[in-house]
């Protein structure tokens, strides 16, 4: 019990705040380096595709963004559930901090999907299974954010959000299956309009690196947001007033 207690020491917002503050610059640096490497490999070193030309290169952003959007939703639901089950305030805060980033990746995936579709197939949008599922995932994020924002009582908001995120997670496989069903029905052959070209190892490496870059970026941004929310919620607590007092004052900042 004592070793687990030591780990859970960071489960309080007060203890998490300084630790996260130290880690954020590292994550940001890792994200920048990995992203630069991935873009170099993807844009300059990966071979041109026979059918799609250079337009396919958007895949190096589109696919990692899509992966992140799906992964972050599940992670968000997980931490929200932990916060609800164990009354762990920090877990609930982290879940809320994840939501906007997850929504952003979803939006990025949709946008890059559109950019991919235009030169390849001539239209800005296609209702294929993957893009449609991403769109529905965006609605799920929007629903979560709207619900927690609409409830003033933070405890009720955290718990209602957790329930909604869990229900959403359970439904995601069902929704995905139904969208594939819908797509094959109406298109006949189940060819994804934006099918990825055959993977050279360079391409795979670039996508992987980009995914890791997105991960590091997500950590950095979510930590920053978590710190901000923790400060807000505990604004009367001693640790919070200390932290604000110690924060460097920016030049020309209005007080």
């Amino acid at each position: 019990m004592s070793t687990t207690l030591r780990f859970f020491r960071f489960a309080s917002p007060a203890a998490f705040y300084p630790l996260a503050g130290k880690l954020v610059p590292w994550f940001a640096a890792i994200a920048a380096i990995l992203a630069a490497t991935a873009l170099y490999l993807g844009m300059l070193r990966a071979p041109t595709d026979a059918t799609q030309g250079d337009a396919y290169r958007i895949i190096f952003i589109h696919v990692p963004a899509a992966w992140m959007s799906m992964l972050l939703y599940v992670v968000m639901a997980f931490w929200a559930a932990i916060g609800w089950a164990f009354n762990a305030r920090l877990a609930s805060i982290v879940a809320r901090a994840i939501a906007p980033t997850g929504a952003m990746f979803t939006f990025l995936a949709l946008w890059t999907g559109a950019l991919w579709g235009k030169p390849t197939w001539g239209t800005w949008w296609v209702w294929d299974a993957r893009l449609t599922s991403e769109l529905i995932l965006l609605f799920l994020y929007a629903g979560y954010i709207a619900l927690v924002s609409a409830i003033d009582d933070t405890r009720r908001a955290d718990r209602a959000g957790a329930l909604l995120a869990i229900v959403g997670s359970v439904n995601v496989p069902i929704i995905y299956f139904s969208v594939i069903w819908w797509n094959t029905l109406h298109q006949g052959a189940s060819v994804s309009v934006t099918a990825a070209p055959k993977m050279a190892s360079v391409m795979l490496l670039a996508m992987l690196l980009m995914t890791l870059a997105f991960w590091a970026y997500a950590f950095a941004v979510i930590f920053v947001r978590t710190r901000a929310i923790a400060l807000e919620r505990d604004n009367h607590a001693a640790w919070a007033t200390d932290a604000v007092a110690r924060a460097p004052v920016r030049q020309g900042a209005s007080s």
Binding site: G143, A146, L147, A160, S178, V179
Partner: protein, 222 residues
């Protein structure tokens, strides 16, 4: 607590009988919404026949969602919900009873009224049949999910619009399978697969949604 379930459904039906206009409103909305589409899309029978299942299903979804906020709002306001929640172990019965009452008053009438709209859209009799069958299987799913949304948004200002945003993505499978059944029948294929999927969806939702709704009620009233 089956006693709670029966007593609640009976009470809700009796209350609805005393406010018949309120019961008719969702049906009226449904009629208006469905009739708007030919006006927007054009009267060409071929087009109308093609969009009919989708239009009917989406209108049914919206009609259900608009009336579902009232499921809990009135009871919450006059303190009845609190008294219901005092009964030990009643939360799931309450959720189930509310969903059943809502379906009997909104979903079932919609399914019964659907053939009229099928004719308006020049659908063939087999297509109309599969539309009604799909609605009978799918509208309970909408009521169950709508109840969850109503419990989550209990007492909030944003009300129905927030509920629609939250719940509609979860209802998409029902729309796909329900409208797909009609499309299958119209192309001469069997809709059996669609009905099975709808049935499975209904069972899955009927088992899990009341539990989630019960939890949502506790979260909202604690």
């Amino acid at each position: 607590m089956s006693g709670t379930f029966a007593v609640l459904v009976a009470r809700d039906l009796r209350l609805a009988a005393r406010r018949r206009v309120d019961v008719v409103l969702p049906i009226a909305f449904f009629t208006v919404a469905v009739s708007l589409f030919p006006l927007g899309v054009g009267p060409e029978p071929q087009t109308l026949r093609q969009i009919a299942p989708g239009v009917v299903w989406v209108a049914a979804l919206l009609a259900a969602m608009l009336s579902v906020t009232q499921l809990y709002a009135a009871d919450h306001a006059d303190g009845s919900l609190e008294q219901m929640l005092l009964v030990p172990g009643a939360r799931i019965s309450i959720a189930l009873a509310k969903a059943v009452s809502h379906w009997l008053l909104t979903g079932l009438p919609l399914a019964v009224a659907a053939p009229v709209f099928g004719l308006l859209f020049d659908m063939s009799p087999p297509a109309i049949g599969s539309l009604v069958a799909g609605l009978v299987l799918g509208t309970p799913v909408l009521s169950l999910l709508g109840g969850l949304g109503a419990a989550l948004t209990l007492g909030l200002r944003s009300g129905a619009v927030l509920l629609i945003l939250i719940i509609v993505p979860l209802c998409i499978p029902a729309i796909i399978f329900g409208a797909g059944a009609v499309a299958a029948v119209e192309s001469g294929l069997s809709a059996r697969g669609h009905y099975s999927l709808l049935g499975a969806l209904l069972i899955f939702t009927a088992v899990l949604a009341p539990m989630a709704t019960g939890a949502a009620l506790r979260i909202a009233t604690e």
